[in-house]
Homo-oligomer: 458 residues x 2
Amino acid sequence: MKKTFLLAALFFSGVTLTAQSKDEQMFKEIYKSSLTNSKCYSWLDHLSNNIGSRLSGSENAQKAVLYTKAQLETLGLDKVYLQEVMVPKWVRGEKETAYIMDNKAKTSVPICALGGSIATSKNGLAAEVIEVQTIAELNTLGDKIKGKIVFFNRPMEQELIETFKSYGGCVDQRYAGAKEAAKFGAVGTIVRSMNLRLDDFPHTGNQSYGDLPESKYIPTAAISTNGAELLSKSLKSNSKLKFYFKQSCKQMEDVLSYNVIGELKGSEHPEKIIVVGGHLDSWDLADGSHDDGAGVVQSMEAVNIFKNLGYKPKNTIRVVLFMNEENGGKGGKKYEEVAQLNKENHIFALESDSGGFTPRGFNFESDDANFKRIEGWKNLFEPYLIHSFTKGHGGSDIDALTSKKIVKAGLKPDSQRYFDYHHAANDTFDAINKRELELGAATMASLLYLIDQNGIIE
Amino acid sequence: MKKTFLLAALFFSGVTLTAQSKDEQMFKEIYKSSLTNSKCYSWLDHLSNNIGSRLSGSENAQKAVLYTKAQLETLGLDKVYLQEVMVPKWVRGEKETAYIMDNKAKTSVPICALGGSIATSKNGLAAEVIEVQTIAELNTLGDKIKGKIVFFNRPMEQELIETFKSYGGCVDQRYAGAKEAAKFGAVGTIVRSMNLRLDDFPHTGNQSYGDLPESKYIPTAAISTNGAELLSKSLKSNSKLKFYFKQSCKQMEDVLSYNVIGELKGSEHPEKIIVVGGHLDSWDLADGSHDDGAGVVQSMEAVNIFKNLGYKPKNTIRVVLFMNEENGGKGGKKYEEVAQLNKENHIFALESDSGGFTPRGFNFESDDANFKRIEGWKNLFEPYLIHSFTKGHGGSDIDALTSKKIVKAGLKPDSQRYFDYHHAANDTFDAINKRELELGAATMASLLYLIDQNGIIE
């Protein structure tokens, strides 16, 4: 009602609106729609609390596919469909156990197997521990590593302002630590959780044995930051202590899963495609409300906002809920493969996969000309406290996407709390603030609107 | 160690540093000190978890005075002292009870007495309810109000981006609702909590009977947002239902309390004073970690950072922990009174009283010349994701402060979550993120540094 009234008022006002004031008005409507009339918070409530964790290949991941498809179908889009993709299936099995065995004392510490890790033997694994800060340090230790558990304990750097930079500076220990330690004959690795806080949550995440032969695989797990501090301290007083851990995780056969796709067809350039998305899968320890339930429902909300406002895009806007970002990225790759087959032309892709916190800006993968033009739109965003337009990584689901000319972007929410929850058992719905989530969706819709109106410089 | 090395390196580098790079370096040191070597989080842990709620005149408020004074004394300041101030003492008494009595059904709803309210009679108060959205609406109802409980139910506006604006647009119901309703013969008032979420926490806060004679005072309480929704819905189906509530709160005699003050004496202009502060008192329902434990420990940390870095201010920097911001503002007024007596010259005052969330910028109470100069410093702050310099209210504790020429500022943290906790039982230490708190302290110290270096345009 209000929108109709507004458009009528503008029509009859007898003045020609400048482009600026038209955009300002659209931003206002977008944010208002999101803050007063959005569905994203209740969608996330369902995904998190009724479905739960959504590791690729799990029953819950399939439930999430069906639920989000059904919800997209209620929005009156032009097309909603599933895209088949084979995904890896890794299962954790029984809850892991671990102890520091210091002389007679046996102290339990919280660990979790890293995604893709093999199990220990049924009785677990006990060995002496060698603590290192970096993979480079392994090379200097050589034979000393043989038969040991390597303990990677380099903390995330506190003094970096953007926490994703601290993560980037640490995550090699988790991703490649086991592969590198195995080369020197280590029997297992334990990695300090990628967490800026001291707490008792171990943080899982993907790891890769790379091109090691299977016979060389060793079990690897993350330890909570408090556990890492304790282990390090204990090693200082007794370098001969043993660490015991037991895990029963397993890599299964790949299974069929799906990307979920919804489309608003472009009125002027239906052949030009704008993608907005997040990933449907999550790790298995929690419901993944921030990683990446938030990005999923924000992407859905972006098109919901356009429908609510009666906005008809010039280009085709496609919401894509990718499967398997966490441990394989198969959904993103499949999407690109199909796009190539269909000779599709993508001009823009926007991803939300950095949590549902207050939005602060975007990272852009863009040539200078487009970036400069986008920077010229900053004044439209500033009333909504969006200030940070930087060049940087768009997101891993849209990484694979190629096109004649494409600009990519990633939503940048406030990052201070993200690694409190990332891949850990506390990444749950109660850590989501409704307004922060909605502001993110509105910020995404606003950028999509500007790209849709102005296209990109090709 | 690192600092000494750095200064030596600069000294021997043979290049003259520009003012800009000297400031950039200082900002870097300040943020690093706060993120790697601060005391503010552990101070807040003690204030919140070992002491707890600190309503003016309470035993805990006195403990907080002694604790923060003792902590300031460990920092090697030039002077730490207490400033006497008489403060009101209001006590809640027994936990309140309230019911919606709809025919035979009796539904319990969460309420809390508003600060300064009188009690109901011992058996409580039951009356029919009249729902209004605004104080203005009362005037149109006149006699219909007599003998009723007035239910103020105007929600905070969701579509405003800055939540303090929504608060400002609503808080008259809480502050003046009882006084206005009493004029029309209401027997009590119930006010929707100042909260943007739907939940079960009633939010207290100050209210005033203004110049009503004491015989006309009526009891007033806040109801949780879920409770308000239920009451409103129930009234729609039965306008004759009754609301019952019982509270036993009481205004006592004023008691002696203190502002806590610590000082770094200026090396060039000791007579020019820069104030940084927050308020020591909190409401009684929780430990007040955000309101305003955060502001207290951030202000203390700002001077701690200067001591850690060996920074010797040109002007006198004074940390002031004000008493009684919540229900009287006596500490702020006393501070100004003493400053006038001593003919002190304050050039700048900075307050943190908007929660311990990620800092986004500052509000400035300033003339144009000083504001323009301060805006010129924005580029120094942007690497720390501080973007928002606006004209606006500095803070209520520094409101009273006058001087020949003074600039005032208030730290502006991200405001989206603030009213989830404000004056409610969930404003507790677990809602604080260590890094966010520390970033706020560093942002405050950075501004204090620039003001100290450059003075103000007098």
